[in-house]
C-alpha cells in the first residue's frame, strides 16, 4: 500500500485496466468548480446562521474537504444510490438536493423532515439518498444491503457511502465491509481521513499508516487518493463505480485530507491541533487548487470566477428566503409516522 496519495492517472489505471474512460471535459471541470464553491458558500452561510442562533444543535462543516464529496458524488451514475455522513453536504448538492432544502433542514423547518432530526440526517429514496445516523459503522452494512438489492434484481447500479477515519474503528464498520466483500456487492466505500476523530488523531486510533490498508483484510482493492484533488477523487471513484457496475465487487477508497475546523461548530480545534497543520492545509485548499488549475488551462478567467461567486450568493439568497418561508416543524404531528398506519 503506498503511503503517498496516488496521482489520479495512476489510481484510475489500476482499477480500470481494460477500457480507459473518456477524459473529463473542460465543461465538467468548470461544473466541479461550481459545486465546490456552492458547497463552501452554503456551509459558510449556515455557520453565520448558527452564530445567529437560527441553526441549532450540531453543524459539522467540511471546510477543506469539499473535493471528496463533490468529486465522488459527481462520479456516480444517475440511478446509483449514496448515503452521506456528516461532512458530505457536497455529495447531496451534486446529487440534486437543492440548497433550499438543506437550509430548511438546518433551520428545522417543515421540509424535509419537519425538525425531527438535524444536519444531514434525512434522505430521499427517489433521489437514491439514504439517511445517516449518529452511531458510526452501521451505515456501511445498510448501504451494502442497498447494493445487495441491486445485485438480487440484476440491476447494474452501485451504492456508495462514506466513513471518517474514526468510524473505521467500529465493529459494525468491519462487519459491513466484510459482508460486502463476501457477497461481492456493487459497493464503494470512502474513508474520509481528515486526521482527527473529534479530538483524537489517527495515530492514536490505529497503527496503520494508510487506512486503505484495511481493505487487504477483506480481499478487496484499497486505494489511497489525494482528497484535496477533486479530479483525482472523481477519477478514482469513477473507476471504482465502473468496476462495481461490471460485477467486480466493492472498493475501499481512502481520501487523505484535513479537518480545518473543530468537530462541530462549537469546538475550537486550535486548542488541540498544532497550528502548523492549519497553515499547511490552508495552502493545500482544494478549491483554490482547482481554480488555479482551470485558470492555468485558460478554461476560466478571474472575471468569470467572480461572476460565478456572485451567482452562487444570489442562488443562496433565494434558497434562504425560500427556507425561511417554510413553517417550523409542527409538534401536533409528532405522533405521526412511527408506524406505516399512523
Amino acid at each position: 500500500m503506498p503511503s503517498t496519495p496516488r496521482r489520479r492517472a495512476e489510481a484510475a489505471a489500476t482499477l480500470e485496466a481494460s477500457s480507459p474512460p473518456p477524459p473529463i471535459t473542460t465543461a465538467q471541470k468548470k461544473e466541479l468548480l461550481y459545486w465546490l464553491k456552492l458547497n463552501r458558500a452554503l456551509e459558510t452561510r449556515l455557520a453565520n446562521l448558527f452564530k445567529q442562533g437560527r441553526v441549532l444543535g450540531g453543524l459539522y462543516r467540511s471546510l477543506g474537504q469539499e473535493a471528496i464529496s463533490v468529486g465522488s458524488g459527481y462520479a456516480l451514475g444517475p440511478d446509483d444510490w449514496y448515503a452521506p455522513v456528516i461532512r458530505n453536504m457536497g455529495t447531496c448538492l451534486v446529487r440534486g438536493i437543492p440548497a433550499r432544502i438543506l437550509i430548511s433542514q438546518y433551520m428545522a423547518r417543515s421540509v424535509p423532515v419537519g425538525g425531527r432530526d438535524n444536519a444531514l440526517h434525512f434522505g430521499f429514496l427517489d433521489k437514491g439518498m439514504v439517511s445517516t445516523i449518529s452511531p458510526l459503522g452501521g451505515l456501511v452494512s445498510v448501504m451494502a444491503g442497498v447494493a445487495l438489492g441491486f445485485k438480487l434484481r440484476g440491476e447494474r447500479k452501485v451504492a456508495m457511502t462514506y466513513s471518517g477515519d474514526g468510524q473505521t474503528s467500529t465493529g459494525a464498520w468491519h462487519e459491513g465491509v466484510n459482508f460486502a466483500a463476501a457477497q461481492k456487492l456493487p459497493f464503494v466505500l470512502f474513508i474520509e481521513n481528515n486526521g482527527w476523530a473529534y479530538s483524537t488523531p489517527v495515530a492514536k486510533q490505529c497503527k496503520l499508516k494508510d487506512l486503505a490498508g484495511r481493505a487487504k483484510a477483506y480481499g478487496i482493492p484499497g486505494e489511497v487518493v489525494d482528497g484535496n484533488d477533486v479530479l483525482a477523487v472523481y477519477e478514482v471513484t469513477r473507476a471504482a463505480v465502473e468496476r462495481a457496475r461490471r460485477g467486480g465487487g466493492p472498493t475501499l477508497i481512502e481520501a487523505k485530507t484535513f479537518r480545518r475546523l473543530g468537530h462541530s461548530e462549537h469546538d475550537d480545534a486550535r486548542r488541540y491541533v498544532p497550528a502548523s497543520c492549519f497553515e499547511e492545509w490552508e495552502r493545500k485548499d482544494p478549491i483554490d487548487r482547482h481554480e488555479k488549475l482551470l485558470v492555468g488551462e485558460g478554461a476560466v478567467g478571474r472575471e468569470e470566477i467572480s461572476r460565478l461567486e456572485k451567482r452562487i450568493e444570489a442562488e443562496l439568497d433565494e434558497a434562504q428566503e425560500w427556507a425561511e418561508a417554510c413553517p417550523p416543524g409542527d409538534p401536533a404531528t409528532l405522533l405521526q409516522g412511527v408506524f406505516a398506519e399512523e
Binding site: A144, L148, F179, A340
Partner: protein
C-alpha cells in the same frame, strides 16, 4: 388442512410468501445448505436458490443492516438470528437505525428479524433468553410471538407483508412439541390482535409464547378448586391489544401477567401499568406478575425449573389472588 408442528407451520408460511413474492429473500447464518440450526429453512436453498437464501458471515449487525438496506431498495428480507440471544449484537441497528427510519425521514423498512427464543431446553444463559423487553421500549418496532402452529404460520405471513420492521420471536420449546391442523391455504393472523384461549370469569391470565400452554395447564387444574381462569394470548407485544386486556380484566376483576422473561423491567410491568391506569375501578386485588427470576437463564434442569414459571407456581399465584 394438515397436521403440522409449530416449526412446520412457520416454514410453510415463509415458503408460501417466497413463492408468491419475488422480493422476499432470506439471510442468516447456516440457513442455506445446512437449513438453519433448527432446520426451519430446510429445503429453501434447493427450491429458491442461493440468491434468495443467503448464508452470511457471523455478523448479526451486518445481517440486520443489510436487510434494512435491501428493504429500502424495495426488497422484503427475512433475517434469521440463529438464537435470538444474538440479536443483542444488532442492537444498534435495530434501536437506532431500523426503528427510527420511518419517523425520521419517512422511509419504509419492511424487514422481519426472526429467531428462536426462550428456555426449557437447558440451553444455558446464551441460548435461552427472551429479549422482547429490550425492543418493546423502542418506538417503531413491531413484536410478535406465536403460541400455536396456526399463529406461527399466520403471523410470519403478516410480518413479511407488513410495511414496518417486525421482530418475530419463535419459541424453541414449541418447535416440535406442539402440532395441530393448519390450513394449507393462504391466511394471515393480524398483527396487534390478541386471542382468547380459554374463557373464565374469575381471573385473567395475560400471557404469550410458550407460557400460553403453561397457563392452560394451570387453568385446567384450577377448575378442581372451582376457579375459572381466562387465558389471553397476546400474540403481538407491539402493538399491544389493550382492548382485549382491559375487557377481560373488566369481566374477571383480577389480573395476572405471566411471562417467561425475567420479572424486573419485563413487559409485564407495562401491562400492569395499563391495567392500573385504565381498569383500576374493576380490580378486586393487586395486579400480579408471574415471571422468571432476576438472574441470567441457568443451564441445569433443576436450576432452570426453579428459574422459570410453571403451572404450579402460576396456580399458587392464582389461588392467592382469588383469596385476596
Amino acid at each position: 388442512m394438515a397436521v403440522m408442528t409449530y416449526l412446520e407451520a412457520l416454514r410453510q408460511g415463509m415458503w408460501e410468501e417466497m413463492e408468491k413474492d419475488d422480493r422476499v429473500f432470506l439471510l442468516g447464518e447456516d440457513i442455506g445448505a445446512y437449513g438453519g440450526a433448527f432446520k426451519v429453512t430446510a429445503g429453501f436453498l434447493e427450491k429458491f436458490g442461493e440468491k434468495r437464501v443467503i448464508d452470511t458471515p457471523i455478523s448479526e449487525a451486518a445481517i440486520v443492516g443489510a436487510a434494512m438496506g435491501a428493504a429500502l431498495n424495495g426488497m422484503r428480507p427475512v433475517a434469521e438470528m440463529q438464537f435470538i440471544d444474538f440479536i443483542a449484537c444488532a442492537f444498534d441497528q435495530l434501536t437506532n437505525m431500523v426503528s427510527s427510519t420511518r419517523w425520521r425521514w419517512g422511509a419504509s423498512v419492511p424487514i422481519v428479524v426472526r429467531g428462536p427464543c426462550g428456555g426449557g431446553v437447558h440451553g444455558g444463559p446464551f441460548h435461552s433468553q427472551n429479549v422482547e423487553a429490550y425492543f418493546f421500549h423502542t418506538p417503531g418496532l413491531k413484536i410478535v410471538e406465536p403460541a400455536t402452529a396456526y399463529d406461527a404460520k399466520g403471523l410470519i405471513k403478516a410480518a413479511i407483508r407488513d410495511d414496518d420492521p417486525v421482530l418475530y420471536f419463535e419459541h424453541k420449546f414449541l418447535y416440535r412439541r406442539i402440532k395441530e391442523d393448519v390450513p394449507e391455504t393462504d391466511y394471515v393472523v393480524p398483527i396487534g390482535k390478541a386471542a382468547m384461549r380459554r374463557e373464565g370469569g374469575d381471573v385473567s391470565i395475560i400471557t404469550y409464547g410458550a407460557m400460553v400452554h403453561t397457563a392452560l395447564e394451570a387453568a385446567s387444574g384450577l377448575e378442581a378448586d372451582g376457579i375459572q381462569a381466562e387465558v389471553i394470548d397476546l400474540r403481538s407485544l407491539a402493538p399491544l391489544d389493550e382492548e382485549a386486556i382491559l375487557s377481560s380484566v373488566a369481566k374477571t376483576s383480577r389480573a395476572i401477567i405471566l411471562h417467561e422473561d425475567q420479572r424486573r423491567g419485563g413487559i409485564g410491568g407495562e401491562i400492569a401499568a395499563i391495567i392500573a391506569e385504565k381498569a383500576f375501578e374493576h380490580l378486586d386485588g393487586p395486579i400480579v406478575r408471574v415471571a422468571s427470576l432476576d438472574t441470567p437463564v441457568p443451564y441445569s434442569p433443576a436450576l432452570e425449573e426453579a428459574f422459570r414459571p410453571n403451572a404450579e407456581k402460576l396456580s399458587k399465584a392464582v389461588r392467592d389472588l382469588v383469596a385476596y
